[in-house]
């Protein structure tokens, strides 16, 4: 990380903590440096930033969030911040090319990084998360040694609702649950429903 990115990340961490507290609640598992896929509900573009801030320093450097390419590369600044500071993986949601959208995620997992995934694909605005897309299932099948950790991100949509530019200070937290295991022979649909329930269960815990 170059000096500008380092300064930016310190500034962002300070700002996020002052605004939201960025509290991490490790309820189902400790923060541990093993290869993991964190999967969480998605209500705001700031979800990615909050997850990044909630992780402890040692895990932050080995964990790469997934960022929507169309949104996070819109301006040079957004692109710089996602690549240089968050070390994000871009996912193309528009599907113009034939390339498998999971390809960049697979590359990252193969090189030993942990990733942060939002399996709903898009931001929801309902109380409950939408149905999960199959990407999580495919990755779980392909990388059985990677630990799957559900997470619930609380309140972020209140900090900066859609269409607003100035964030409002409101306490946010990320609750991490007990790891999930893909059972041998478990079907795609039932696994995804189970994963979604594991995320929802953390909301009231």
């Amino acid at each position: 990380m170059n000096i500008r990115a380092k300064l930016m990340s310190l500034f962002l961490l300070g700002l996020i903590r002052a605004l939201t507290g960025a509290q991490a609640r490790w309820q189902g598992c400790p923060p541990k440096a093993e290869q993991r896929i964190y999967f969480a509900n998605h209500q705001s573009h700031a979800d990615l930033v909050l997850m990044w801030a909630a992780l402890p320093e040692e895990l932050r450097s080995i964990t790469r969030p997934i960022a929507a390419k169309d949104y996070w590369t819109k301006t040079p600044f957004k692109q710089w911040i996602t690549t240089a500071v968050f070390n994000a993986i871009y996912v193309d949601r528009t599907k113009i090319t034939d390339q498998d959208p999971l390809e960049p995620l697979i590359d990252a997992l193969e090189s030993g990084d942990s990733i942060i995934l939002f399996p709903e694909g898009t931001r929801g605005n309902q109380e409950e998360p939408q149905a999960f897309k199959s990407g999580l299932y495919n990755l779980a099948q392909r990388f059985p040694q990677v630990v799957l950790v559900p997470a619930w991100i609380n309140n972020v949509q209140r900090v900066m609702p859609k269409g607003e530019v100035v964030p409002v200070p409101i306490l946010c937290s990320v609750t991490f649950g007990a790891p999930l295991v893909l059972e041998p022979g478990e079907e795609r649909g039932s696994f995804l429903a189970r994963a979604r329930q594991a995320v929802i269960a953390l909301r009231d815990s």
């Binding site: 507290g21 309820q27 609380n154 309140n155 859609k162 409002v168 200070p169 409101i170 306490l171 937290s173």
Partner: protein, 326 residues
């Protein structure tokens, strides 16, 4: 002894006060440490009591250090410190009061315009405006911003919540540093004693009320709101607060009878304000204002510690200004 004290300069007197307070804190912390070393974990109630004592001591250390830093670095820095406290308290309050998208602009106004302006008014000693800026101007401006957001659902309720948050967290807390800047004749450099007087009598009143209720439990007056509040214990707490205030009159610009009256006003406002804040918490279904009221560590929020002060500071400030004409 008293001639020795009188010969000290005001800043030496305040310094001495801090030495005494920190000395007491060190003694209390050592006692708690010894008690925790002897605690074998068999008696659960004892362990629980120790835990409460420790968290109370931690708060006291933090509060005293903040006060000391504020005093040592001058009134402007002290006011800024209180502005930060107000910011965090309002953040806790808003977190636990559900807001809608339509409240966003009003919230931005509350945090980034109202709060800085109020504390700036305090720093620049515009006390008349400090008193009316929020209850008059802000209370009429916030609903306008909310109405422009075009969302009539639960409009009155949402605005009331926001206005109460601003009133308690910003208005209340801003009157503590305002006491530091009040210009009493023949009292310059000693205003820190006034803040100490307010905090000390209010906390003493609250503590005595709590202990009285534990010693002689009675039927709570408003059991849905508070299991510990009842009029007899309350009276004992208020009376003790007023008595302690009278003993401390030498520190203040008041005569003994005036000091008792001021202490009584502060204690009544503080303890009843604490009860009101309890009602707000029960309404939200939480036990404390921590991070979402369900913090795993068991630590409570900042607002739990300062709520009595939020209510007593403006009333104390106003009574002092009105009665003494300063």
């Amino acid at each position: 002894m008293s001639s020795f004290l009188r010969n000290l300069t005001p800043s030496q007197q305040v310094g001495l006060l801090f030495v005494i307070v920190f000395g007491l804190l060190i003694a209390a912390s050592i006692t708690a440490l010894v008690m925790s070393l002897r605690d074998n974990g068999e008696d659960e109630i004892r362990t629980q009591d120790l835990h409460e004592l420790n968290s109370l001591l931690n708060t006291s250390w933090i509060m005293c250090t903040v006060f000391w830093l504020g005093w040592a670095s001058g009134e402007t820095v002290a006011t800024l410190l209180f502005a930060i406290v107000a910011f965090f308290a309002l953040r806790e309050f808003i977190t636990l009061s559900p807001t809608r998208h339509g409240d966003h602009r009003s919230l931005v106004l509350a945090f980034f315009v109202v709060l800085p302006v109020q504390f700036w008014l305090v720093i620049t000693k515009r006390f008349d405006l400090v008193t009316v800026f929020i209850p008059v101007y802000v209370f009429l401006a916030i609903p306008v911003v909310s109405a422009l957001a075009n969302d009539p659902q639960r409009f009155l309720e949402r605005n009331a919540k926001l206005q109460w948050g601003i009133m308690v967290c910003v208005y209340g807390i801003s009157h503590v540093p305002a006491l530091l800047l009040l210009g009493f004749p023949n009292y310059s450099g000693k205003n820190a004693f006034l803040v100490f007087f307010l905090v000390f009598v209010v906390q003493t009143g609250m503590l005595v009320q709590h202990l009285a209720n534990r010693k002689w439990p009675r039927t709570p007056t408003a059991p849905q709101v508070s299991q510990s509040f009842n009029w007899p214990s309350w009276l004992i707490g208020i009376a003790t607060g007023g008595f302690v205030g009278g003993l401390m009159s030498g520190l203040t610009p008041f005569k003994p009878a005036q000091a008792v009256a001021m202490a009584l006003i502060a204690c009544v406002a503080g303890s009843l304000g604490h009860l009101v804040m309890k009602a707000l918490k029960r309404d939200r279904g939480i036990t404390n204002w921590g991070s979402e009221g369900k913090s795993v560590t068991g630590a409570s929020g900042l607002l739990d510690r300062v709520d009595a002060l939020c209510f007593s500071a403006p009333i104390f400030f106003h009574s002092v200004r009105w009665y003494f004409g300063v």
